[in-house]
């Protein structure tokens, strides 16, 4: 059944979109991430322009992270104070990202920037995740206990001023790195159409030493606010959010996520991280392939909006 997307201006099979929503939702539920880094490339692959894909995926992520936030809220597994501090940077980062997005679009370099950012970010993060999880699996094979959180180990980050005690996370850190992390996540989320959960979770665990129990819920809270903000800002400045596309994806996404969560509980943590790492790495590789290989068509045509 074909449905005409009013903003993307093309007909797409409704079931294909719905199925993509379920598939990405399944993966996002399984790994506890938003899934934007998969959804945005998939939409580009079926012919939706990168600009519309990035803008519309933001609302899809905010739907899936909201149902996640509610679930973690009930278990009180969200550190509100930490989330709010992350948000201070996150909202500014999102606004900066939307601004850069608009600017790059006007000079015709948006697609290449999205492509390049995916290659660099996903391949580096993918490699790190694979390496880390392989080490963890090896340790488990050799019968050594899993690496525990070392409360005494401090890095230079812990020496920064403006320290705040986050009671629920049982950490005492400076506000500066927290805001910076929030800013970076908000910024790349708005430019690349990703929630950033797969970056934020490791950053909070390894840099901030936030306990794993509250890290996913807190990360989802930040994603929820930055992606809702990105939806509103992209709609207000670029008029590129396709509500029909977004609604189809989010309905599929929240359903898929339910099954993903159950599947994820059956797999061990380090194996889950290895799978996610491989997935992230492959998506990055796919973008690299497009950038490095000589394209079949060197030219492209794009309509200029009124007033530009």
């Amino acid at each position: 059944m074909e449905i005409y997307l009013p903003i993307a201006d093309l007909p797409v099979n409704l079931f294909l979109l719905f199925f993509m929503g379920i598939a990405v939702g399944f993966i996002s539920g399984m790994f506890g991430i938003g899934g934007g880094f998969l959804m945005t490339p998939l939409l580009i692959f079926i012919g939706i322009t990168p600009a519309v894909a990035v803008a519309s995926v933001a609302s899809h992520i905010s739907a899936s992270s909201f149902s996640g936030v509610i679930a973690y809220w009930r278990r009180s597994a969200i550190d509100i104070a930490l989330a709010l501090m992350l948000l201070c940077g996150g909202i500014i980062g999102t606004a900066a990202g939307v601004w850069l997005f608009t600017f790059l679009r006007s000079i015709g370099q948006l697609d290449i920037t999205i492509g390049l950012s995916y290659v660099i970010l996903l391949d580096i993060v993918g490699c790190m995740m694979i390496a880390e999880s392989v080490r963890a699996i090896m340790r488990a094979r050799q019968g050594k206990p899993a690496e525990l959180r070392r409360p005494g180990s401090h890095t230079w980050i812990h020496g920064l001023p403006f320290k705040i005690r986050f009671k629920q996370s049982k950490i005492y850190v400076s506000a500066i790195p927290v805001c910076v992390i929030g800013f970076v996540i908000g910024f790349i989320g708005a430019v690349m159409g990703i929630g950033g959960g797969f970056l934020l979770v490791p950053a909070l665990i390894y840099l901030m030493r936030v306990p794993t129990g509250v890290v996913v819920g807190t990360s989802m809270f930040l994603t929820l606010v930055t992606m809702s903000g990105a939806t509103v800002m992209h709609a207000a400045t670029n008029h590129l959010v396709d509500a029909v596309l977004a609604l189809t994806l989010m309905v599929g996404g929240v359903i898929g996520a339910q099954f993903g969560v159950r599947a994820g509980q059956r797999i061990r943590g380090e194996q889950l991280r290895l799978l996610l790492g491989i997935l992230v790495f492959l998506v990055g590789l796919r973008f690299a392939y497009d950038l490095i290989l000589r394209p079949d068509e060197l030219y492209s045509v794009r309509l200029l909006e009124n007033g530009m």
């Binding site: 009013p6 996640g68 977004a246 989010m250 929240v254 950038l291």
Partner: protein
């Protein structure tokens, strides 16, 4: 009543006048003057019926008649960009801006255009994609470029691939020597706006008569509502979409609640 009489009188006058000036004139009718883009729109086909009306001044045409129907979509400004290799990756470098290029352009005829008229005639009547001017903005000036300009060629090629620009030499069929039909294919990705349809009558390479009509393509219903609110009320639209996302997430958490 007056509203009806006005156009009818103009039509009669126009036809009468055209008939007097030339031996032949065209009477055409479109199967529909409106195309509505709704949520199930996957493109459509329109048909133009036409009749070649002869009068006592018409001379015998040995070669028979030819018909070329030109459908021109709304003008829009488009940018064509070229990718070049920069430090190992392919990046958009040069670009050209095409000013007021038709968003859709079809040349429908009963046989190949070069058999209908010579190159000189086709150029004069602007028949065929090669003979349409596509003004470009070149360093502040607007001008046309030679046919072999790589950007112009790429622009035509890409629009042909999108099925927005087309030359169909068998789209017009003669039902009788004086009665014809032209099939106008409107693909799903057309821009909205007013489309001009000119049917041109040729005989022995000379244009004898032409007739103009128009098609209005518009988004309707929900599609129209979404598109116009996204454009005109961006902030509200964004808030509504974000609200929709939260509602979807909340419903999911209620429906799938397991504890």
């Amino acid at each position: 009543m007056r509203r009806l009489l006005g156009p009818a009188a103009a039509l009669l006058l126009g036809l009468g006048w055209a008939g007097e000036a030339r031996g032949e004139h065209l009477v055409v009718a479109l199967s529909s003057h409106q195309v509505q883009i709704n949520s199930s729109f996957v493109g459509t086909d329109l048909v133009l019926f036409g009749s070649i009306e002869r009068d006592e001044k018409s001379v015998a045409r040995n070669g028979g008649y030819d018909i070329v129907v030109r459908v021109t979509g709304p003008p829009q400004t488009e940018v064509t960009r070229r990718k070049d290799r920069v430090v190992g990756i392919w990046v958009n470098t040069e670009s050209r801006m095409f000013i007021d290029a038709p968003g859709y352009l079809a040349m429908l005829s009963n046989r190949p255009l070069n058999e209908i008229a010579g190159p000189e005639g086709l150029r004069r009547y602007r028949i065929g994609l090669e003979n349409v001017t596509f003004p470009q903005l070149i360093s502040g000036d607007i001008g046309d470029v030679p046919l072999n300009d790589p950007f112009r060629m790429a622009f035509l090629r890409l629009n042909r691939e999108l099925r927005l620009y087309r030359e169909v030499p068998n789209a017009v069929t003669f039902l009788t020597p004086n009665l014809f039909r032209a099939a106008i294919r409107i693909p799903a990705n057309v821009p909205v706006g007013t489309y001009l349809v000119d049917a041109n009558l040729f005989a022995e390479g000379v244009m004898l008569a032409s007739s103009n009509s128009a098609i209005e393509i518009q988004k309707v219903g929900f599609e129209q509502f979404v598109a116009s609110s996204a454009r005109d009320h961006g902030l509200l639209y964004g808030l509504a979409t974000a609200g929709l996302a939260l509602l979807t997430g909340w419903i999911a958490s209620v429906v799938f609640r397991r504890d």
